[in-house]
């Protein structure tokens, strides 16, 4: 079953991100699966999200958490079968939940049959599906991304006695997008999933698709052409479907991936994310305003995707050196918490389990321009385990209740794909869905209410933003506007109560209605509008002219 056509659905989406493996294990093998996920759809519907983004679930040797795909048109046996996926997809659609799946365009696993064929002989028809060279000195201007593990972007293949190109791990050979057959096959892959009914793709590592000598081999015009071609075919054959770009770039560079509305529908606003954390720690609106002011206008049909945390580290690649040092000092003083150029921690531990700050950040996430993404478990304040290696500490099993394996699986605990978080503060006995369901004041209940209020108006997903500049820099205030609807958002970024005077003369005569309690506040006049805001408190006011 497909959901009704709503061309701009992605602008109104509340996306929930998860890995099938982490959510619910239905068959008791210690690994989450599609049947388990399907069982938990009522929970997601109740939470209020309307879109799910699934991390890679394809057959894979899992040397890069599934981003090393060995078969693009199937499901990893640990997570179930293709039929399980179809059943899940239909069940999700029945509940009005759209499904975005992950697609890794740039490379495959070295275990993919295409690569086996390509390396088998230089004459093989699939030889040219990858990028080969007799020497390892081509494309020298391209940087090495995984400096910790890779010495070169070229790897020697002893089978075909030549080098193959890989921008990521050496077990992930890059596909050759100069080859029309590759482009055709990737489109076939997309078509396969679209015909099943998926609603969109999150395309991984898009800046690296094409290589050219003398360049950084990133963000090349030829790469954009590949994207445009995919978009043309998508729009023609599957209108209403969506492409989301993963490109960790500064906003001005990232904007090129929207093209003129003919490339991606959505792209992650990577630089905003660390700056939300920075602003709260600094108790100063500057980082957020600065980055949003640097963000160019995007085409009307395009949309930013914004997030607080995800399956990766809190990346600090798009910040200045001084900002990076500050973030490390404030959020990851213990070096175990650091990985690559970032911090491998979940939202609640980053906020020191301070409910007020967690709420404030979620308030920002839901009210700044863009489509928000909630990372699984953050709605209940799950913790992390920085001792698990790589980013696995933020990928632990979902904590459903305080019983056996947190209600995640009936397997013996030793069989779980990952240990549960079990410390006294964030462990599943303390933090779990069942216990939070019982309280109207739990973080889960609060998050549900937040999503509900967010969804009560399209202004947050589609409206413009206009910053107010009150003298008090601890207060971040802005107006979201769509048509006749105006919402005033006031965030106190500081740990102490603040008084703020807002210049609302444009809204003279309007009555601010606080959106959570539907309480009317004094009418806006011609003089500065005085508000007092508690520590880390935020207000959303609908400015009504009655």
């Amino acid at each position: 079953m497909s959901l009704p056509q709503q061309p701009l659905w992605y602008k109104d989406a509340i996306i929930y991100q998860l890995h099938v493996r982490t959510f619910y294990d239905c068959n008791g093998d210690g690994i989450g699966d599609f049947r388990g996920l399907q069982q938990k759809l009522p929970y997601l519907e109740e939470l209020g999200i309307n879109t799910l983004w699934l991390l890679p679930f394809y057959p894979s040797p899992l040397r890069d958490d599934g981003y090393d795909i060995a078969d693009y048109t199937s499901v990893h046996s640990s997570y179930g079968s293709l039929d399980d996926f179809k059943a899940f997809l239909n069940a999700a659609h029945d509940r009005g939940i759209r499904i975005i799946i992950e697609l890794v365009l740039n490379h495959t696993s070295d275990q993919h049959p295409w690569f086996h064929e390509a390396r088998s002989s230089r004459d093989n028809p699939r030889r040219d599906w990858y990028v080969w060279s007799d020497t390892d000195d081509r494309y020298r201007h391209a940087s090495i991304i995984f400096l910790d593990t890779e010495l070169s972007n070229w790897a020697w293949d002893p089978v075909s006695k030549s080098y193959y190109w890989h921008r990521f791990f050496s077990h992930q050979p890059d596909l050759n997008y100069d080859n029309p057959a590759v482009r055709e096959e990737i489109w076939n892959v997309m078509k396969f999933w679209l015909e099943l009914g998926v609603d969109g793709f999150r395309l991984d590592a898009v800046p690296y698709l094409v290589e050219r000598e003398g360049t950084s081999c990133e963000n090349l015009p030829e790469t954009h052409e590949v994207i445009r071609e995919l978009r043309r075919r998508l729009d023609a054959a599957f209108p209403g479907k969506m492409l989301l770009a993963e490109a960790n770039l500064w906003p001005a560079d990232l904007c090129s991936y929207f093209g003129t509305g003919d490339e991606f529908h959505m792209a992650f606003h990577f630089p905003l994310m660390p700056r939300m954390f920075m602003a709260v720690k600094l108790e100063d609106r500057k980082p957020i305003i600065e980055i949003l002011q640097q963000t160019p206008q995007i085409p009307d049909l395009s949309q930013w995707c914004i997030f607080l945390r995800n399956h990766d580290e809190l990346t600090l690649a798009i910040v200045t050196d001084a900002e990076r040092d500050y973030m490390y000092d404030e959020y990851a003083r213990d070096k175990t918490m650091r990985i690559n150029i970032g911090i491998r921690r979940r939202l609640a531990p980053l906020m020191e389990n301070d409910r007020r700050r967690i709420e404030l950040l979620n308030g920002l996430l839901m009210s700044l321009p863009g489509t928000p993404i909630v990372y699984y478990g953050d709605e209940i304040g799950m913790g992390d385990n920085v001792f698990l290696g790589d980013r696995n500490g933020v990928r632990t099993p979902m904590q459903w209740n305080g019983h056996w394996n947190a209600g995640f699986s009936s397997a013996d605990p030793e069989r779980l794909y990952s240990p549960l978080v079990s410390n006294p503060v964030y462990g599943y006995q303390a933090i779990n869905v069942d216990s939070q369901r019982r309280s109207e004041h739990s973080l889960l209940s609060w998050t549900r209410r937040l999503i509900q209020v967010r969804k009560s108006t399209p202004v947050f997903g589609r409206g413009t933003i206009e910053f107010l500049f009150p003298l008090n820099h601890r207060v971040l205030a802005y107006i979201r506007q769509l048509g006749n609807e105006s919402v005033l958002v006031v965030n106190n970024l500081s740990s102490s109560a603040q008084a703020v005077e807002l210049d609302l003369r444009k809204y003279n005569g309007a009555i601010p209605i606080e959106m959570f309690g539907r309480t009317a506040f004094p009418r806006v006049g011609s003089t500065p509008y005085l508000l007092t805001v508690g520590p880390y408190q935020f207000f959303w006011f609908r400015l009504r002219r009655i």
Binding site: D284, R285, N472, V500, E501
Partner: protein, 425 residues
């Protein structure tokens, strides 16, 4: 009962918006200060470069304002480092103004800054006059850093000076305060200085802000409060000090500083009359430097003023000084330039007698302090004659001897001070 606040509603509104800060920079001006002022730029650069993570506010105290000053919401620009990279604070550098069409006295400025420091919970504050001509960012850093990073409560500046510059400091303020307070700070009336929020709160609470002496020499009163209050004090070397082109006259300098010192002695006597061991105040950088800057002084004119002063003020001086002291000063009037020498022992005795008479209010205190002016001119003339060709070491030895004289006559001064005198009930 409500009491009218000395802070204007507008300034208070700005302060509330600023909220809590780590660093506060007060820039005082009575000439319609503006954002193009070099002191403002130096402060901004110092904060951006050296304290990028700290919450900071620049306060422009704009006396005699014609409406200039910081614009609301105006943000300082970026600065470039040596390799041309832009440097900026992680936070908003807040800039606010307290403006008045009236001239701000030193006391009003200081009180406003102390109140701002108290309300904004500032940990370290620095005061810079907008008229300071050669303030550089490193000055701000040198003054703020000891307070913010090392826990000092009061940081006085040290400058590189010409050997004939700062003579009132060398001949009176420094040696007298060193002797009586037991701690030596060379610049007791600092133009630029830094202090902690802790000291600011105490001074704000304890200052007799309506008193004229405090209004005129608030910084001196604060320095003394720090020295006597067992606060952690230090001095930091800033470099050469360019003399303000429109410097105040000797008369007004003495009126302000000596009056301020004597007034402070009066209000703190219960502390300094108790014997204190002389302790060194930590100095960051060289203790003092003599620069080659040329200072032109007319010795003949100084001597002429001395002679006429001794003669014209004989009656007043007679009620202030002991007969012996006055007799010696009178005798000196007849000496010519080659033999004129107002010795260290005599000078110290005269100063102590003035201080005691001030305490005993033998006559109007303002007139009393003004009567010191001709004698001070004589002392300066004597100093210039004696040290015309002296090097730094010779001057230093002489100042050290002066210090010893102050020390030797201290107990005698204490007795003089404690004697019930005229004007006392």
């Amino acid at each position: 009962m409500t009491q009218e606040s000395f802070l204007t509603d507008d300034f208070l509104r700005q302060l509330i918006s600023v909220g809590e800060v780590d660093l506060l920079v007060g820039i005082t001006s009575n000439e319609g200060g503006n954002t193009a002022n070099p002191a403002v730029h130096a402060a901004e650069e110092a904060i951006l470069r050296n304290f990028p993570r700290e919450r900071a506010v620049l306060i422009n105290l704009d006396g005699g304002s014609t409406g200039a000053g910081f614009s609301e919401g105006e943000e300082p620009g970026l600065i470039l480092d040596e390799v041309g990279r832009s440097i900026k604070s992680l936070r908003t550098l807040r800039r606010i103004s307290a403006r008045s069409r009236n001239v701000f006295t030193v006391g009003t400025s200081l009180r406003t800054i102390l109140a701002a420091a108290d309300l904004s919970c500032a940990r370290a504050c620095v005061v810079i006059p907008a008229s300071a001509e050669n303030v550089v960012p490193s000055w701000i850093d040198s003054l703020l850093r000891p307070v913010y990073r090392e826990g000092y409560d009061f940081v006085a500046p040290l400058y590189s000076r010409h050997k004939f510059d700062g003579l009132l400091t060398r001949n009176l303020l420094f040696p007298m305060s060193r002797t009586l307070f037991g701690r030596s700070v060379r610049e007791l009336v600092p133009a630029e200085f830094a202090f902690s929020g802790r000291l600011a709160a105490r001074c704000l609470a304890e200052g007799s802000w309506n008193d004229e002496a405090l209004q005129e020499t608030g910084e001196l009163w604060m320095a003394i409060a720090a020295l006597l209050g067992d606060y952690r004090c230090c001095q930091t070397f800033l470099g050469p000090k360019v003399r303000a082109s429109s410097g105040s006259s000797v008369v007004s300098a003495i009126r302000q500083t000596v009056n301020g010192l004597f007034w402070s002695l009066d209000s703190t006597a219960s502390i300094w009359l108790n014997p204190r061991q002389l302790s060194r105040v930590h100095t960051i950088g060289p203790d003092q430097q003599i620069s080659g800057e040329y200072v032109r002084v007319d010795r003949k004119k100084l001597l002429a003023i001395y002679r006429s002063g001794i003669e014209e003020l004989s009656q007043i001086l007679g009620s202030i000084l002991s007969p012996d002291s006055y007799a010696e000063l009178s005798k000196l009037s007849s000496a010519d330039e080659t033999t004129f020498h107002l010795s260290n022992p005599l000078w110290v005795r005269v100063v102590y007698e003035f201080a005691a008479s001030y305490h005993h209010s033998v006559l109007n205190r303002d007139h009393l302090v003004q009567a010191l002016v001709p004698i001070y001119r004589g002392r300066v003339a004597s100093f210039l004659i004696r040290h015309r060709v002296s090097n730094f070491e010779e001057i230093h030895a002489d100042i050290e001897d002066l210090n010893q004289q102050f020390e030797r006559q201290k107990n005698w001064f204490f007795n003089l001070w404690n004697m019930k005198g005229q004007g006392e009930s």
